[in-house]
């Protein structure tokens, strides 16, 4: 078991080695404004038995949890996903037992996981992989689980460390099949925090106090990092370091918000408001590079709401919503079933957005106005559809839709571009990365909910109020429907009986006789 703790500050913020104290108790320093990432690496044999079974039966398993609270991150710790609980999974062939038990194992660890079996609840990705997503507001159950597995005392420093996960923005659990180790990575948002890490006798702890850097030799496709590295219990002072690497995830240095247009009705439209129509901060320098860059939104939609791929295929319609087209959608998505008749978790949508008026933009760019003016806010609208939800008290049901992940993807223009070399902060298996070719760079746009007065929390979810049948008013539905149908039926039947009694059922060939009978009656 070993641990890596990384603080990453923004460009220009850095610490002198003298500001940091290293001693037998650990490392400490001043308050810094930084992102903190903790990574615990656990060997297979150190895992509890249920997890050993799980990861040997399904080595290709990635669990990602993202908080609904809006948070800021710093390059290169950028990769974004919609808030909630994500799982990507490929069962080893012939290991049905793992699939069968997966959901209950997940529920043991994470608490309120509402899948039943992968066959019922998961969606298919390519090449035998499955995806699962659900809303999960907190990982308190996971914290309890981790504490019971890792800590000897209920109130010791170990418990306090794990308790701190309650303020984390994201949690990643992935199994490395080459080294047979499990990596658990937690990330805390960019904020002011005290620099302090205690050492543990049984644990090798490496601490990095880094900041993004832009050395002169840095190439456009690279991210630069500099700072101090310390191995606790081994180093007596931090050693300065500086390195650069090609990163798949970059910072677009712009933001977006997502909101449903009112009224939502049964066909809500999700409006994405982006602050910039430029892929990334470097884009004005090299237009050829940005030609292959397009904005995308990656959505994980709970089953109560879905996109209709057929509706999103007409070019005129798409253009009117500032969309280019669907790049991916879960197959199949039932277009008719009510929510309560479905077991699949929902669906994934990757849609390419279309920033308005690129020609006007480029001509303005050439005039070299200042950067603030060049960034132009624009919106794209994604039409969605609600399923019928189960009847409820009051006539409305509320559920929340997570913010999408929004990014500009710059795909390599030539064939055969090499994959990114591994880097210490690499993140893959995010659901959307596999939908692009090797060598694609993702420029992440930060989700930033609109500020709406005091008290409205900045959550990365939008609530939808769905009109449903009000069970409190449903008492008379059975009787009333039956009565109306009976009355209508009786009326029509009565008319038929009267026809039969007055004229019989005989047809036109006996017309003469009928006429005579009618005359008699008059």
């Amino acid at each position: 078991m070993r641990e890596r703790i990384t603080y990453v500050q923004k460009l220009g913020d850095s610490l002198e080695p003298s500001a940091v104290t290293v001693d037998s108790g650990g490392i400490s320093g001043p308050e810094v404004h930084a992102v903190r990432e903790d990574r615990l690496t656990i060997a297979l044999h150190e895992l509890p038995p249920e997890l050993q079974t799980l990861f040997t039966g399904a080595p290709d398993l990635y669990i990602r949890w993202v908080s609904t609270a809006a948070y800021e991150v710093v390059s290169p710790l950028l990769a974004r996903l919609p808030p909630g609980f994500h799982l990507f999974f490929r069962p080893r062939e012939g290991s049905n037992a793992v699939s069968e038990g997966l959901c209950s194992t997940l529920a043991d660890i994470f608490g309120n996981i509402s899948c039943s079996t992968p066959a019922d609840s998961f969606t298919n990705l390519d090449s035998g992989r499955f995806q699962y997503f659900q809303e999960l507001d907190s990982i308190s159950h996971f914290i309890q689980y981790a504490r019971s597995q890792l800590c000897r005392q209920a109130n010791g420093p170990c418990s306090a460390r794990i308790e701190a996960l309650s303020t984390a923005s994201s949690l990643d659990i992935s199994y490395d099949t080459i080294q047979n180790v499990l990596r658990v990575t937690a990330l805390w948002p960019y904020q002011r925090q005290q620099l302090r890490v205690a050492s543990h006798p049984q644990l090798r702890t490496e601490v990095g106090i880094l900041s993004t850097d832009k050395p002169k030799t840095l190439e456009a496709h690279e991210v630069g990092i500099s700072g101090l590295l310390t191995v606790l219990g081994q180093d007596s002072k931090p050693s300065p370091t500086m390195f650069s690497f090609a990163s798949r995830h970059r910072d677009a240095e712009s933001s977006f918000s997502a909101q449903f247009l009112a009224p939502t009705g049964l066909h809500p439209t999700l409006q994405l408001r982006l602050t910039s129509n430029k892929p990334h901060p470097l884009s004005e320098d090299n237009d050829e590079d940005t030609a292959a860059c397009h904005p995308y939104a990656y959505l994980t939609l709970p089953r109560a709401i879905f996109a209709d791929k057929y509706q999103l295929s007409d070019p005129l319609f798409l253009a009117s919503k500032n969309l280019t087209g669907l790049r991916y959608i879960t197959q199949p998505v039932d277009l008719e079933a009510p929510e309560y008749a479905m077991t699949q978790w929902g669906s994934t949508v990757l849609v390419q957005l279309s920033p308005p008026n690129p020609t006007a933009l480029s001509s303005r760019q050439s005039k070299g106005e200042n950067e603030e003016n060049r960034k132009e806010e624009w919106t794209a609208e994604l039409p969605l559809h609600l399923r019928y939800l189960a009847p409820a008290r009051g006539g409305y049901a509320v559920f929340s839709v997570p913010y999408p992940a929004v990014f500009w993807a710059c795909e390599p223009t030539q064939e055969g571009v090499a994959a990114f070399p591994p880097n210490p902060f690499e993140k893959a298996h995010l659901g959307y990365d596999a939908l692009f070719g090797e060598g694609t760079v993702f420029w992440h746009v930060e989700p930033r909910p609109p500020v709406e007065g005091v008290g409205s929390g900045s959550l990365l979810v939008n609530e939808v109020r769905v009109p449903v049948l009000d069970v409190e008013k449903a008492r008379w539905v059975n009787a009333g429907t039956a009565a109306a149908v009976a009355a209508g039926f009786a009326w029509v039947l009565w008319k038929l009986v009267r026809v039969y009694l007055s004229y019989g059922y005989k047809g036109g060939v006996e017309e003469e006789g009928d006429r005579a009978r009618e005359k008699k009656r008059q």
Partner: protein
């Protein structure tokens, strides 16, 4: 893909014969009538092309995109059922195969893509011509054309077919069936009946009406000497019921139906059965529509799902406990017997009481009853009876008593308008209008329809016998 129900206008009674000289000369020859009908559809078709090309809101019906997608699959040698929500016979996709062709020339491609709509619009015209033919059996050509114009020159009918809805095809099939029957062309009638039922199931209700109508007096058998002089026994009556003509109709229609279904099953396998027929058995019909059962079905489907979920949760316990605590089985709701009043009226009672008196009007009453009492009802279904309306109107008390006619039309429109208003509040404003608004509106519309149906039935019973 909920389809917002469109308002539907019944053809106004004032559009029917009130002879002024100008109108008289318009209807005196067929050419002006059919030319105007064709021109009306051409205008709508061209307008639709313009709107589709220039507006994100499309003129073309979503169903047409389903058909043409399915045709594209067929053109690539695949099954039309690869297209989700394609719930029709493969013949429809075959019929629209030209729409799957592309040449690269935009103009030609637009024409090819619209070819299905042209077929539907042409079907309208043929249905109108068949209407005229049936009507001329009891009136002169000009009057017949005036009544047929209720269908031919009806903007609603023209809109539906040029938007690409296939319901117009049903109109021509049903009219062809009726013309074949009244012309005593039994084999043709049988084939058309089998084909219609294969195409859209509901025309099966016409089978008992036609069989009841085609008695030995109407269709003379080859053995006229066998008429018994004394009162026949029940057995003899039953035997007499089985006339050669009836047998011929039964065999040909069944053969057509079976041959078509077996061939489709051979080609496309289970998906054909699943999507064309079984879907109608398993569908939940929880979405709001005009049917009086709608709210009840929504409630019941959610209760069934909840019970199933409870049962599933139970079965994850040891099997022992699930055997003891069975989930409360949903009570026998009226939705499970909803087909009884519907079929009693449209399949049995109306044919028995009315078919021998006036077959076309009886078929109108049957269709009206079938649609009114159906578990699902959308405005497209109204077209099913609209095609038969011109055959009944000449004898209807709605035309004889103008006040009654206007009242019926007004009630029909107001009741539907009330439902549409509630539906709009639900679908577009997101207001929980299910109860009581939408529910009461659908019951109100249902009762208005029943009232109209009652009058239609009385009219058919009372009125002069039709010549057919």
């Amino acid at each position: 893909m909920t389809k917002p129900a469109e308002p539907v206008g019944m053809p106004s009674p004032s559009a029917t014969p009130t002879s002024t000289s100008l109108l008289g000369s318009f209807f005196s020859r067929p050419t002006p009538v059919y030319l105007s009908a064709a021109f009306l559809r051409l205008i709508f078709l061209l307008y639709g092309l313009w709107q589709d090309a220039n507006s994100p809101v499309k003129y073309t019906d979503i169903d047409y995109l389903v058909f043409t997608d399915a045709s594209r699959f067929v053109a690539r040698g695949q099954s039309p059922y690869e297209r989700e929500t394609y719930r029709y016979t493969p013949i429809l996709a075959w019929l629209l195969l030209p729409t799957a062709q592309t040449t690269g020339n935009r103009l030609i491609d637009a024409v090819l893509f619209s070819s299905g709509k042209v077929i539907f619009a042409a079907a309208d015209l043929v249905a109108g011509w068949l209407l005229e033919r049936v009507l001329t059996r009891s009136m002169n050509g000009a009057s017949a054309r005036k009544y047929a114009a209720i269908w031919l020159l009806n903007p609603m009918v023209a809109t539906i077919s040029t938007r690409g809805s296939s319901e117009g095809l049903l109109g021509v099939l049903v009219m062809a069936l009726l013309s074949a029957v009244v012309a005593r062309r039994i084999t043709l009638a049988g084939l058309l009946l089998g084909f219609s039922v294969h195409f859209k199931i509901y025309p099966f209700i016409y089978a008992p009406a036609i069989v009841w109508w085609m008695d030995a007096d109407r269709i003379k058998t080859t053995a006229p000497g066998s008429k018994p002089s004394e009162e026949p026994s029940l057995f003899k009556k039953l035997l007499a019921f089985v006339t050669p003509a009836r047998l011929q109709l039964a065999i040909t229609s069944l053969a057509a139906f079976l041959v078509l279904n077996l061939s489709m099953y051979t080609i496309y396998g289970f998906p054909f059965l699943q999507h064309t027929y079984l879907h109608h058995v398993t569908r939940i019909d929880h979405r709001h529509n005009f049917s009086p059962y709608n709210t009840q079905l929504y409630l019941a489907s959610a209760a069934t799902a909840a019970a199933a979920a409870a049962a599933a949760a139970d079965s994850s316990q040891p099997p022992f406990s699930s055997a003891i605590s069975l989930p409360p089985s949903p009570s026998l709701g009226i939705e499970s017997i909803a087909f009884l009043p519907q079929l009693a009226l449209s399949f049995v009672l109306i044919p028995l009481a009315l078919a021998k008196r006036d077959l076309p009007s009886a078929m109108l009453a049957q269709t009206f009853a079938f649609v009114t009492f159906n578990k699902v009802c959308t405005s497209q279904y109204f077209l099913w009876y609209m095609v038969l309306l011109p055959l009944y109107l000449p004898r209807s008390s709605f035309l004889r008593d103008k006040r009654l006619g206007v009242a019926a039309l007004a009630l029909w429109i107001v009741a539907q308008g009330a439902w549409l208003q509630q539906g709009y509040e639900l679908e577009f404003l997101g207001r929980s209008a299910f109860l009581p608004g939408l529910w009461l509106a659908s019951l109100g519309f249902f009762l208005v329809n029943c009232w109209i149906l009652g009058i239609v039935i009385s009219d058919v019973g009372r009125g002069p016998k039709a010549v057919v």
